[in-house]
Amino acid sequence: MSSEAEKPSQFDKVEALLGQHPGVLAAKVLCEDSTHGHLTAYVVPRNEYLGAALTDLDEERKRIQKWRKTFDLMQMGKEAATAELGFNIAGWNSSYTRQPIPAREMLDWVESTVAHISSLRPQEILEIGCGTGLLLLRIAPKCKRYVATDFAPAVLGKLRKQMNQIGGSWDSVELLERSADNFDSIVDGSFDTIVINSVTQHFPNVSYLIRVMEGALRALRPGGNLFIGDVRSLPLLELYATSVEMYQAPPELSLAELRERIDRRVKQQEQLVISPAFFLAFANRNQKLSGAEIRLKRGHSDNELTRFRYDVVLHAGGNQNERIDVEWRDWTVNEEGIKDIRRMLKDNQPDRVAVTGIRNARVEKDGMARERVLSANAIGTAGELKRELEVATTSGIEPEELFSAGKENGYRVELSWASCHSSGSYDAFLSKMDDGSETGKLIKWPQLSTSGEELAKFTNVPGQNIFKERLIQQLLSYCNENLPQQLAPIALVLVDELPSDKKASPD
């Protein structure tokens, strides 16, 4: 006799009631206390509900104020006081070491970002969240107009000081103190480039993000570009957590404990972490845009910025259907190394090369660590795992090497993360530079399907612990209001997966 057959219909009643609640994806009721007949409900929550319905504007405001305070505080310390002119990187700390990221790596990051934005040929820019001016001070001198906003007054103060110290005319620059979702007095279609760099991770939730992007789109003129940079990748969140916890783990830590630490880091995430699918879906649903390019970070540094973050370019103009169809080859079939690719470009000179699923050397070992930690019999210690990884053979390709190989042989190289693989693998398209017909045309990249999904599905929920508590209380009250006392669950637990039947309840 299966326990399913014995399950009383009252449990179905409770589960059905819970299933009607907008915050519930699935529910299961078990009686784990046969003495008193107390019921426990297990619920898989709907993330969209957690993020959107359980927050209010007051909550949002408090979160934003906290971030503002964090940035103002960073400017009150020694690091900011002794910062190099034009290069105030105070507060940029490594998640691994909790110490400042080395200056040469930050310079690499700044210069790659400036190069990317400059390639869009901006003339009239709106930068939302300009911070201490790492980009502004380098890009504004080449532009006709540069409007920059930031919500932290101490930070804008430091920027003004730097501009005065550098001297010269900054007539084209206008600084506005305001939060990212404030577009007052910004005229529709008045900018050819809008930059939102390293800001999205501090937004309180997905609705705020959508609001800012919609405001940015209104301010953008046809033919213009919306550049959203340094976005933290949601598909790679677990890989990131694995990478950091591995680094910080004492050698004797068991793999089981390491796994708990990784899970905790993911769940306690206070920043907004976004999947490329969000931008693909947003672009898809907006007539003004012809799609979203999801680009890996350029640069030779090896840190959390190049490993787990990406840049997005949304173009206002043209349409999705004008994109070129390309025949893609699966990298995992032959797993070519960079030497093979170089030789192929040099000897065969193909018109184009289109490869999907290239293993990403930047995060290959993090991926191996993750597999070991997740495996069914994960025995051993963090120290043993680290030693294993040190000597493991790798087959992934470093993105910068593809760019070099392309450059040396006369090919334009484009990489994409639109496929959203949680392994960090990427797709590459190389085209011969003298093939004029394809310059500037966008191609159809392999991408995760987003049709029918809410945008909220493609981000995490910052500070979700509070919302989870709220949802639990809400659901318990909801049950109490709609069920007779003996059926209302006494406890409610949020889970990722429903538990299997453990005990059948007595009648």
Binding site: K66, K69, L73, M76, N93
Partner: protein, 85 residues
């Protein structure tokens, strides 16, 4: 007035939210050790401003000023001494 009692309670609460039940002594490092993060640092700062009237704009801010129960306590005392001047 022993502010440390209130400070310890506040810090224990922040640690509890991170499921950190390791021992806490008055000189245990909180931020530099990574037990608490920058979001928690802001909570501590806001608490000091609201409950103890500390004005960080006046005295400047450095992680070390709030890195332990002891340093939080001496930050409060320096800020109060400044006020009395």
């Amino acid at each position: 007035m022993d502010n440390k009692i209130a400070i310890r309670q506040f810090v224990r609460n922040l640690l509890a939210q991170k499921s950190d039940d390791k021992p806490l002594s008055d000189d245990s490092s909180l931020l530099i050790s990574g037990r608490l993060d920058s979001v928690d640092a802001v909570e501590i700062v806001v608490m000091l401003e609201e409950k103890f009237g500390v004005d960080f704009a006046e005295i400047g801010f450095d992680q070390t000023m709030v890195d332990s129960v002891d340093s939080i306590d001496s930050t409060i005392r320096s800020a109060q001494t400044l006020k009395e001047k």
